[in-house]
């Protein structure tokens, strides 16, 4: 692989790295695991990059490879088993512009999302990233109708958790 290709790839990755970070945050629960998954996704992206054609956006392509790696390819290493040292919200929230009830609600919501299974998480992630149902269905390999139905079920599930 040429230096130029590598340079181009790194530039794009640096610009769009937040997509990978967000996938990692959703599928891992501590700092080491986050970095581990980040590396694996980057390696998979790099391996697939020569076949990347400009006909889809780089970011769209990243969602697919990122989620595929998180859901299917990634093998959790031993050090990622530790789950107690992480609380999604505390890890994330530094801003203090939330009012108490909203913060509380968000806390519960994030916790609920973490408890979803891998597939549900993927759907929620794409939804939060403002992807339409066509793209969600294409990324996951399910029909648009099924993506919608599943998404509605997840919403109901979250609602129940939030308002028991």
């Amino acid at each position: 692989m040429t230096k130029e290709l590598e340079h181009h790839f790194v530039e794009l990755l640096e610009k769009h790295q937040n997509i990978i970070h967000k996938v990692c945050r959703l599928y891992t629960n501590n700092y080491d695991a986050h970095n581990d998954l980040f590396q694996e996704i980057t390696i998979q992206l790099w391996k697939a990059y020569p076949k990347f054609r400009g006909d889809s956006k780089f970011s769209t392509w990243m969602y697919r490879v990122g989620l595929n790696t998180a859901i299917t390819l990634y093998r959790k290493s031993k050090r990622t088993i530790n789950t107690q040292d992480f609380n999604g919200v505390e890890f994330r929230m530094k801003a203090d512009d939330y009012d108490d009830t909203e913060e509380q609600q968000l806390k519960t919501l994030y916790k609920a999302v973490y408890e979803l299974n891998d597939i549900e998480k993927a759907l929620v992630f794409l939804y939060l990233e403002d992807k339409d149902y066509r793209e969600i269905s294409e990324t996951m390999g399910i029909t648009e109708v099924n993506a919608r139905v599943k998404m509605n079920r997840i919403k109901t599930k979250l609602k129940t958790i939030l308002n028991p």
């Binding site: 937040n18 290493s77 919501l109 399910i142 029909t143």
Partner: protein, 211 residues
């Protein structure tokens, strides 16, 4: 307000909280080796190929008595040659199928298709192992039969067995074979079970959406 809308509002605020990697941080990652299950599966399938080829080849070349016995069993030279050609043909076929299915695995497919290609590769390995186990079993039975037939001392001993002794002999043979098969089965269950546990779960979850 919709719960997810609330989450969405907050979701994009987190962008600033990530530790940003610079291009200097990214370059070294590109040199690292992947530790994905596809890679592991690939090594396992190569291992399987080599292991079973060795199992088939080593006894023939390392032990003269084995070779002599084998030559005695296959008095018909053509039958032996035919069998050899057949077994190497099967190995070549499996190598071809394995590489084809490995090549079909693409991280840029959709999630379901990717899982299916990995499971397909795993099935090819499974059939290869199954084929070898069946062949091992058949040659064990044939080998035992000829060993008894060609060994006058053994034939003599067995002909003096009463029914009870005969039953015990059968029971021992069946017992030993079962334990042998069970251990191999357990090994594969553990190996692939651990490796593909998450994939199987997620694939089932996706399939469930289709009903």
């Amino acid at each position: 307000m919709d719960e997810l809308e609330l989450l969405k509002k907050d979701w994009n605020r987190q962008d600033t909280t990530f530790k940003k990697l610079s291009s200097e941080d990214i370059y070294p990652i590109l040199q690292k080796k992947s530790s994905s299950i596809v890679k592991t599966l690939f090594y396992i399938s190569i291992g399987e190929l080599i292991f079973w080829i060795l199992i088939n080849v080593i006894p023939y070349f390392s032990s003269d008595s084995f070779r002599e016995r084998l030559d005695a069993v296959y008095t018909n030279e053509y039958a032996f040659m035919g069998l050899t050609v057949f077994s190497y043909g099967v190995i070549l076929l499996f190598i071809y199928l394995l590489f084809k299915s490995h090549k079909a695995i693409s991280v840029t497919d959709n999630a379901k298709k990717l899982m299916e290609s990995i499971l397909k590769t795993r099935r090819v390995i499974k059939y290869y192992v199954l084929y070898n186990l069946v062949m091992a079993f058949i040659s064990m039975v044939i080998g035992m039969y000829f060993a008894i037939m060609h060994d006058p001392k053994l034939t003599d001993t067995i002909s003096h067995f009463n029914q009870k002794q005969m039953l015990v002999t059968y029971a021992i043979l069946i017992g030993v074979t079962s334990v042998f098969v069970f251990i191999i089965w357990l090994f594969y269950k553990l190996l692939y079970g651990l490796l593909l546990k998450r994939l199987n779960k997620n694939y089932k979850e996706l399939k469930k959406l289709e009903v």
